[in-house]
């Protein structure tokens, strides 16, 4: 897909990379010259590779190792248990519940985050006076830390002192147990998460919208196409790479929602908001069982990797590259 697109492009937008490719074919170099790129690449990539190795890959491998052990009170691997941590997890109702809750949470948050952000971006893309103010407001949640956001929502969800229940009772609706009821709690955490996600998604989608060529709309308007026709036939296809990017990022973030769960519900009630990521945290830092915690981390990593690959495989086909 990309290749085809690149072929159509005229020479003006040919990148340096293409030039280098051409240049390389034509040349006859010594071995030392030929490996020059390797040396440069190694040098430039070294800081990243080093840091990734120490703080990303090594911990993952260490987690893999720990997942076959029980750990003692000091957190060192002390008893080899083979696959027990994994088999226990697959039999455990609590873990199955966490998986279910996590999937449900992703389902609640990803589509609505993207749709809300898209809606806001479409609104804010209109050329109106004072639109800058609206844009800043819509983007504002990007500047909110998890801790601050979750604390504010915690107070708004407060069963008796919270403003949400005050609003409900003032219009004669029954007060809701936002965070105390199993079904509601996950929805409430999802609402908070969607709110927190919106700023980032909005900014990116707005940028994407502004990159769409105005001429496309003009010719459509001349043809007498209505707003929704243009939206469906021009905006969404042209925006699809951005949308794809945003969906992928939101999706990954959704699996990693930690702070809001910690502050709002602590995984409860009755584990109704015990997302896998939170379950890992609890197992590791409250129960101090690094073995089972690591096994969960490995499973989570595997699942997200698989789902993301699937998304790339099937999702990218629907994406139009300019």
């Amino acid at each position: 897909m990309k290749q085809q697109a690149a072929d159509i492009l005229d020479t003006k937008t040919l990148t340096v990379q293409d030039a280098i490719d051409k240049y390389k074919v034509a040349s006859t170099k010594t071995w030392w010259q030929k490996t020059g790129n390797y040396r440069i690449a190694f040098l430039y990539l070294l800081p990243s590779l080093l840091l990734f190795s120490v703080f990303m890959f090594y911990p993952m491998i260490y987690s893999l190792y720990l997942s076959f052990f029980f750990t003692d009170a000091q957190g060192t691997a002390s008893a080899f248990v083979g696959w027990e941590n994994y088999t226990y997890l697959f039999q455990s109702a609590a873990f199955r519940n966490s998986v279910g809750v996590t999937l449900l949470f992703v389902l609640y948050t990803v589509p609505s985050s993207v749709i809300i952000a898209l809606f806001l971006a479409l609104l804010a893309n209109e050329k109106l006076r004072g639109i800058g103010l609206y844009r800043t407001i819509f983007a504002s949640t990007l500047g909110m830390s998890v801790a601050a956001s979750a604390v504010i929502w915690l107070f708004m969800f407060h069963p008796t002192a919270g403003i949400l229940n005050a609003a409900l009772t003032s219009i004669n609706l029954p007060a809701l147990s936002w965070l105390q009821d199993s079904t509601m709690a996950l929805v409430s955490v999802a609402i908070t998460t969607i709110w927190m996600n919106t700023g980032f998604s909005f900014l990116i989608l707005l940028g994407g919208l502004q990159n769409i060529d105005e001429h496309l709309y003009e010719s459509a308007r001349i043809d007498g196409a209505g707003y929704f026709y243009r939206l469906r036939r021009i905006t969404v296809p042209m925006l699809s790479p951005t949308l794809f990017f945003i969906i992928t990022i939101t999706f990954i973030n959704s699996f990693q929602s930690f702070g809001q769960v910690d502050i709002l519900t602590g995984g409860g009630p009755a584990e109704a908001t015990n997302l896998i990521i939170y379950s890992i945290y609890k197992e590791a830092f409250i129960y101090y069982q690094f073995g089972p915690a690591s096994a969960q981390a490995i499973i989570l990593f595997g699942a997200v990797l698989l789902l993301t690959l699937l998304q790339f495989k099937f999702g990218e086909k629907k994406v139009h590259y300019q």
Binding site: A73, H158, T160, Q180, P269, I286
Partner: protein, 459 residues
């Protein structure tokens, strides 16, 4: 728009700065009148930097909010009271995070000389090897520990050795809305004591905006309901003679508590307000709940924040038994090992200091925690306080009436945090409709699995 936001923030910051100035001025004003404690403290601080004689001692704690402020003021007082040692309090997050933090740095040079630890971390601390039992210093110094409150000491005493110094101790009690009692035709001076009495009262108190009874989603309250029936939480004399191998709360005592809660929940006279202390308290204060169980440390807040008369009473107990009392909760202060003798000395001096009746009197009045020294209750400041808030006496009486036994001494298990989590989760399942037997069984199995894992890991 940038301007608007910018202007808003700038004005806000300026306001904040003014506010802090204002505070500074008040302090100065106070200081002019009499040499304030803070000023003295500042001098000691300065001296601490200059002279090398002063021993620096780190004190890790897990108290946020107003309690943290009180704790810091207490330490300031100590620092001002002598010149040999300087204690620096360091907040480490919640009790759980504090424990995690200590686990990881224990035995290294980052480890503190003094660390506060919640009661369920006791077993871990004893086994960690990173602490010196305070008994060593008690013996060395010939300190008379019997002067302190026996029912608090018993929790931290294992095989006749006191491991840590009591610090902030509390127990649960029953809190109720006296005005509502009167409206419902109940006697506010004679509150319900047994499960069935509570149940009946809850029925009378429930109407369309009010639930009769509620209990916080916290394992501590369930532990009390077991202990008062004189049942151990785990085997091996509540884990005090040897490592516990299984939990015992799954017996009839546990079932009574689960059934009781279930009956009220099904009758609609009970409402669950989650795990957050604040949510339940607010529900009580806004008269959505008529009776609930709370920590004795919150008594004064409960009275001050309520627009009605608050009654305090003993915790409920099963009809079949005579109540045995309560297990203390809260935290104690431990002395780190692997530090210099001098630092330990300083830590010990501080421990002795804060257990003095006068200091404990202040502590009790300012925080609501028990005084570890019974004589503190005779101090004028406490007597005045108790005059004003007679309800404060109830938890003290309840503690002093507690029958000493392994049950009321409290359980010692390493996996306590996990077991508590299992209990709360199973209670939440109960409130959502799981049968009492099944819910209780879940908590038992979950806790036993945790015990088994930790056992195998430490073999």
């Amino acid at each position: 728009m940038k301007k608007t936001l910018f202007f808003m923030s700038v004005s806000l910051l300026t306001l904040a700065a003014c506010a802090s100035n204002e505070e500074g001025e008040t302090n100065e004003a106070e200081a002019e009148g009499e040499a304030s404690a803070e000023e003295v403290d500042e001098e000691t601080n300065n001296e601490a930097e200059i002279s090398e004689e002063v021993v620096e001692i780190e004190f890790w704690h897990g108290m946020g909010g107003g309690l943290g402020d009180t704790l810091e003021a207490l330490v300031d007082d100590y620092n001002a009271s002598q010149e040999e040692f300087h204690i620096t309090p360091e907040y480490q997050g919640s009790y759980e995070e504090l424990l995690t933090q200590f686990r990881t740095v224990g035995g290294t040079e980052t480890a503190p000389a003094l660390v506060q630890m919640f009661e369920v971390g006791t077993k871990y601390m004893i086994e960690s090897g990173y602490i010196t039992p305070v008994q060593e210093w008690i013996d060395k110094d010939g300190y008379d520990v019997t002067q302190l409150e026996e029912n608090i000491l018993s929790y931290y005493t294992v095989e006749d050795e006191l491991y840590s110094m009591p610090f902030n101790s509390s127990t649960p009690a029953l809190y109720f809305n006296k005005d509502m009692f009167e409206e419902a035709g109940l006697d506010p001076e004679n509150p319900p004591r047994t499960f069935s009495e509570i149940k009946e009262a809850a029925e009378k108190l429930t109407d369309e905006d009010t639930y009769g009874f509620s209990m916080l989603g916290h394992g501590w309250f369930f532990e009390q309901l077991i202990a008062t029936q004189s049942a151990d939480y785990v085997d091996q004399e509540n884990g005090r003679t040897a490592d516990a191998t299984e939990v015992l709360f799954g017996g009839e005592e546990g079932l009574r508590a689960y059934e009781w809660l279930n009956e009220m929940n099904e009758a609609g006279t009970f409402e669950y307000y989650g795990r957050d202390w604040d949510d339940l308290r607010a529900a009580f204060q806004t008269e959505n709940v008529a009776m609930y169980m709370d920590s004795s440390a919150g008594t004064k807040d409960a009275i001050n924040n309520a627009g009605f008369e608050v009654g305090v009473s003993f915790i409920p107990h099963a009809d079949e038994i005579d109540p045995n009392g309560v297990v203390i909760g809260g935290a104690s202060v431990w002395m780190g090992s692997g530090i210099s003798e001098e630092e330990q000395q300083g830590a010990w001096e501080f421990m002795k200091w804060f257990n003095q009746p006068e200091v404990q009197a202040e502590w009790h009045v300012n925080t609501g925690y028990f005084a570890t020294h019974p004589e503190a209750y005779n101090e004028p400041v406490v007597e005045g306080e108790h005059e004003e808030y007679p309800q404060l006496r109830v938890p003290i009486e309840q503690l002093q009436a507690t029958v000493p036994s392994s049950a009321t001494q409290g359980a010692l298990i390493t996996v306590f945090p996990e077991s508590r989590e299992q209990v709360v989760t199973s209670l939440e399942e109960l409130y959502q409709g799981t049968s009492p037997e099944d819910a209780l069984q879940m908590a038992v199995e979950g806790s036993n699995r945790a015990i088994e894992v930790s056992e195998r890991a430490s073999e």
